[in-house]
């Protein structure tokens, strides 16, 4: 449902990734009026960018898009994309006041047909953040094909104001005079589904990320493997060659006090095993080696999935990678401490994937007064076992990775849990009013 300036809602859901989407659907299906706010141009969060998901190997888009589609047409859900929360304040009588800012898109959403003529016309090319900078995009652009809403937007930071897109647009929906709009809304309960940040491998210079083009992150590999992938083939970014000897470095930025992140990210082992399986399919001649400390395939069907990867010929090496250096032809030397032999060994690979981990997104701290975080900057769970989704603030509930690393099935269950508590809270506080 379009926003149309409506002020009162039962629930405000912050974040339009899989946890926010699942929460919103659960609330709306039980007749609560929901405002779903997403800071990005599209719903879907990180999940929609993935290739396939473990351990069932369903394509990620096949799981996300129907849910997004249901959210988009739900009569009880209002969606605001490209919108920031400025502040949420708890008021008396158990309701929340939120100030939100809908950023200018310079495109009138309701008139845009997603024809992409503006994209063709735009002369500006910048790295495409939705493809993790593997390829370029225009300044006038649609994030990606299965974006929701699938409409254009003008990236004003890079736009040269040439007006080419305006001329090309058949519906005249491009509007350079658009301005950011601020609104104030009231909600009885809030679900924070603000997700996580990826570890930035530039913080570990010895892995050569940023210096060697053929050292990439696992999220970049997701894009290379995805059905909507940039090169339509798995190629190494340095020179476009088909890689034939690929290494995965697990725990890149996780379980590592030296980068300030002592905890395990919970997902990297499994997504790396999944990518290895997909690579064996996409590049049947390639060797795939996974360097690990411990393989943590703990969920339903995960251990079996790990065994399956071993059976397919993925090479698992127990050893901690110390450094990665580049040779003249863009190949890489990987130095690791081999646990079996007790010494440092050098191995040559032509593509290295860093299995980067999950870091807390501590933005909520700036948005709500009374927000407490744990020692890793994830949301504090006030009553961990009795009400896992309860934040430090009564009436504010936590869905998905807001409270810690989680895989998709756990995020979905956590979203259901938060929605149940939020509905109960609304019902109980409404009686009290």
């Amino acid at each position: 449902m379009p926003f149309a300036g409506k002020k009162l809602y039962d629930a405000l859901v912050v974040g339009g990734g899989i946890a926010g989407i699942e929460s919103a659907l659960n609330l709306a299906n039980n007749n609560l009026k929901v405002l779903l706010v997403e800071k990005d141009l599209t719903l879907g969060g990180k999940m929609i960018m993935l290739s396939k998901v473990f351990p069932t190997l369903d394509c990620s888009a096949c799981i996300t898009t129907p849910k997004i589609s249901e959210v988009a047409r739900h009569p009880n859900i209002t969606i605001l994309t490209n919108t920031n929360i400025l502040q949420i304040e708890k008021q008396d009588k158990n309701y929340f006041k939120a100030r939100i800012k809908e950023k200018a898109r310079y495109v009138n959403i309701s008139d845009c047909t997603g024809c992409q003529l503006c994209e063709e016309a735009c002369p500006v090319v910048v790295p495409d953040q939705y493809q993790y900078d593997l390829v370029g995009r225009k300044a006038a652009y649609i994030p990606f094909n299965i974006a929701s809403p699938r409409v254009a937007s003008i990236d004003m930071d890079n736009c040269v104001l040439c007006g080419a897109c305006e001329k090309a647009c058949p519906t005249g929906c491009i509007d350079f005079t658009q301005e950011d709009k601020e609104y104030e809304i009231i909600a009885k309960t809030v679900i924070m589904a603000t997700g996580f940040n990826l570890f930035d491998p530039l913080k570990i210079p010895r892995f050569s990320y940023g210096n060697s083009k053929n050292v990439i992150t696992a999220l970049q590999m997701e894009r290379l493997l995805a059905p909507t992938r940039p090169y339509n083939h798995v190629l190494r970014p340095g020179d476009g060659q088909v890689p034939c000897n690929i290494a995965y470095v697990l725990c890149a930025g996780s379980r590592d006090l030296s980068v300030g992140n002592p905890i395990c990210s919970q997902i990297c082992c499994m997504y790396s095993i999944k990518q290895a399986q997909l690579l064996m399919g996409a590049l049947p001649m390639a060797d795939v080696t996974i360097y690990y400390i411990n393989i943590r395939s703990f969920g339903k069907g995960f251990e079996e999935f790990y065994e399956q990867a071993k059976g397919m010929g993925v090479n698992f090496v127990k050893g901690k990678v110390g450094k990665i250096t580049e040779t003249d032809n863009g190949n890489l030397i990987l130095w690791y401490e081999d646990i079996n032999q007790g010494k440092v060994i050098e191995k040559k690979h032509d593509l290295v994937v860093l299995s980067v981990g999950v870091l807390a997104n501590d933005e909520p701290k700036k948005l709500i007064q009374g927000w407490e975080k744990d020692e890793y900057s994830f949301a504090h769970q006030k009553d961990l076992f009795y009400t896992p989704s309860l934040s430090s603030i009564e009436g504010v509930f936590l869905a998905g990775t807001t409270s810690g690393p989680m895989d998709i099935p756990d995020s979905i269950l956590s979203a259901g849990s938060a929605a149940m508590e939020a509905i109960r809270y609304v019902k109980q506080t409404s009686i009290d009013l």
Partner: protein
């Protein structure tokens, strides 16, 4: 006959189109009788394609739609909703499965896969051509829920549902509630104990008038379907009346009992009488007599007149709209001799060790009167089995063991800990516990997958030997005062719930959800949800999250007083019926009766559409909607007629 049919063939981003030539399929069906539009699409399920379909249907007044994509289990509902949004009846939609049943199993044979896809799509077109619009049926819903299992998952789900105003019947098979967590004592990442958590939940349950709690209550039969289940529950008596409040007399009565049996609460490492309390986690707070071990000697009744050995079991009939199953797990029981279990005296399981730590007085820990100093933990017992059937990881045990070991030192500072692992899996924030343990001097070994550690008992000494990964297969050994087998989770044994409710199990033998991400708490039986560790190993937080997810799903079934049910029911052609009674005998739901005209008639809201009545009719007078003779025959003809 539908003459304006739209057909959409999905690439599924390569999942289908890598093996099936979708363009060829499109060409092959585009000229089929009745087909107006035939298109291919990258993702049929994507919002943009859904919008495109709605537009196509409206602009071209399509009267039937076929989507050929993944299994109907995933997206048939999605596409039925699409055609409904465009104003078409959802029964004018037919789904063709060309992924799970074509592109994937025939990925070795692209030509064959393409040919099969063509036939399947043509058959779907043949069916949709004959399809008729049908309207859903409404049933009145019983606004009550049966929750099976009063462990933390079941209790939490019951509380949440009751707060939404739903009547909840919470049944527990054991005489006491709390499940495994009551026995677990220390929990991780919190100072709250299992007993405290259970106690909080129990207090809330007994003060809540919307929840009826029954202990010693076992589901014995269940009939009906979503909206209206009738569950039959057997209530075993406690044999101790609730009016028994004199604890001293009761204590004497218990002491008079001559029977001694292993105490399940302590996993058999202590004994109890046939009449017993369940200390320290006794909810409800009344003793009980275990009739399986009672000899009916009557000694206790002589002391306490509130004990009555002649109490009879009772049966309840509960009418509910939905059922939430939270029957939990059993700790794996090692086989005789597995790592010395039941053969070497000081080899016990983690569950037993946790109880030992809980009930032993602080100071010196003892096992069978010998002081315990060195504790060896052997991981993955009953999980990740190389030879056995339990291939899965039990998820909770690495963390639980390290946490138990760490916290044991608060009470027993002298304990040293040696962990014989297969790679520690303290995922997420739990990693901090592993870190703390390493820092506090716990010793960690890791065995090779094909070379487990060994427990030996010689000269009154128990040693654990391992060829350690971290020291390049060097054999290391530790002399242990007690060996703790870190046992995983297995589905509850003697759990007949799956037979009664017809719940399917997964490869790991736990109950199976429909889809881990799309419908993670629903089962193939409409109206029955699953929560907690009965679905697969989970820790407490994960169990509670799944319980609440199941609760909100359940609430969406019973929150309203009416539910829409499927109209795909059986239908009798009165002129053909000669009333022979065969169909009524075949119907498992008593949905067919003899009407005033003397012929068979189907009660549409009771009929579940199973079709068992179809083949038994001697005059072929019964048709099942959407599975009629002409529909099936048209599909057979198309599938048979390969070009």
């Amino acid at each position: 006959m539908k003459q304006r049919i739209g057909v959409y063939i999905c690439h599924c981003g390569g999942n289908i189109s890598d093996y099936v030539d979708v363009e060829k399929v499109r060409e092959a069906v585009a000229q089929n009788d009745g087909v107006l539009i035939a298109k291919t699409t990258m993702f049929a399920c994507a919002d943009s394609n859904q919008k495109g379909m709605v537009q196509d249907i409206k602009e071209n007044q399509l009267d039937g739609v076929v989507v050929a994509s993944c299994s109907p289990k995933l997206h048939e509902i999605t596409f039925k909703a699409v055609v409904e949004r465009a104003g078409l009846n959802k029964y004018n939609y037919v789904h063709a499965n060309i992924r799970e049943q074509v592109s994937w199993p025939h990925s070795d044979n692209k030509a064959g896969a393409t040919q099969k896809a063509i036939q399947i799509v043509k058959a779907a077109i043949a069916k949709v051509r004959l399809s008729e619009a049908i309207e859903p049926l409404e049933v009145d819903t019983t606004q009550a829920v049966l929750v099976i299992g009063a462990g933390v998952a079941g209790m939490k789900a019951a509380i949440s549902l009751s707060k939404m105003g739903t009547k909840v019947y919470l049944i527990e098979r054991e005489p006491f509630i709390g499940g495994r967590i009551a026995q677990w004592d220390v929990l991780c990442l919190t100072n709250e104990t299992g007993k405290e958590l259970v106690s909080r939940l129990y207090t809330e349950i007994v003060s809540n008038k919307n929840i009826a709690l029954y202990t010693g209550a076992q589901l014995v039969d269940c009939k009906g379907s979503i909206g209206n289940f009738t569950a039959k529950v057997k209530l075993s008596p406690r044999y101790v009346k609730e009016t028994c409040i004199d604890k001293e007399i009761l204590k004497k009565a218990i002491n008079a009992c001559p029977v001694e049996v292993p105490d399940e609460f302590n996993f058999g490492i202590t004994k109890r009488r046939a009449i017993y309390h369940n200390f320290p986690a006794e909810y409800p707070q009344t003793a009980v007599i275990d009739m399986n071990s009672c000899t009916r000697c009557g000694k206790c009744t002589e002391i306490c007149d509130k004990i009555d050995l002649n109490m009879k079991e009772e049966f309840l009939e509960l009418k509910v709209g939905s059922i939430l199953v939270a029957t939990g797990f059993d700790p794996y029981t090692p086989n005789e001799g597995e790592f010395g279990y039941n053969v070497i005296d000081n080899v016990i399981t983690l569950s037993q060790f946790k109880r030992l730590l809980a009930f032993s007085e602080p100071g010196k820990l003892q096992w069978h009167d010998k002081p315990v100093k060195n504790v060896a933990y052997i991981y993955c017992v009953g999980s990740r089995q190389v030879d056995g059937n339990n291939k899965y990881c039990s998820r909770y045990c690495c963390t639980a063991t390290i946490n138990t070991a760490l916290k044991s030192n608060d009470k027993f500072p002298e304990l040293n800990h040696f962990h014989f692992t297969r790679g520690i899996r303290t995922y997420g924030k739990q990693e901090q516990l592993y870190h703390n343990a390493s820092k506090s001097g716990h010793v960690f070994f890791q065995s090779y997958e094909d070379d487990p550690c060994r427990v030996e008992h010689k000269n009154n000494k128990t040693t654990v030997k391992i060829n350690d990964i971290l020291t390049n297969r060097k054999e290391l050994e530790v002399e242990a005062d007690i060996v703790v087998l870190v046992t995983g989770m297995v589905p509850r044994s003697n759990n007949n719930i799956s037979d009664i409710l017809k719940l399917p199990r997964g490869r790991d033998n736990f109950f199976n959800e429909i889809h881990m991400k799309l419908r993670p708490v629903e089962t193939v039986i409409d109206g029955i949800t699953i929560a907690g560790a009965c679905q697969g190993p989970k820790n407490v937080v994960e169990s509670i999250n799944s319980a609440l997810s199941a609760a909100i799903k359940t609430y969406s079934f019973v929150g309203k007083d009416k539910l829409m049910v499927k109209p795909e029911v059986a239908e009798v052609t009165p002129d053909l019926c000669k009333w022979c009674d065969e169909c009524t005998k075949a119907c498992p739901f008593d949905a067919i009766f003899k009407n005033e005209q003397g012929v068979a008639q189907v009660n549409e809201t009771v009929c579940k559409g199973c079709g068992m009545c179809l083949p038994v009719c001697p005059t072929n007078a019964i048709q099942l909607k959407t599975f009629s003779d002409i529909e099936i025959a048209s599909m057979i003809d198309v599938l048979a007629n390969e070009l």
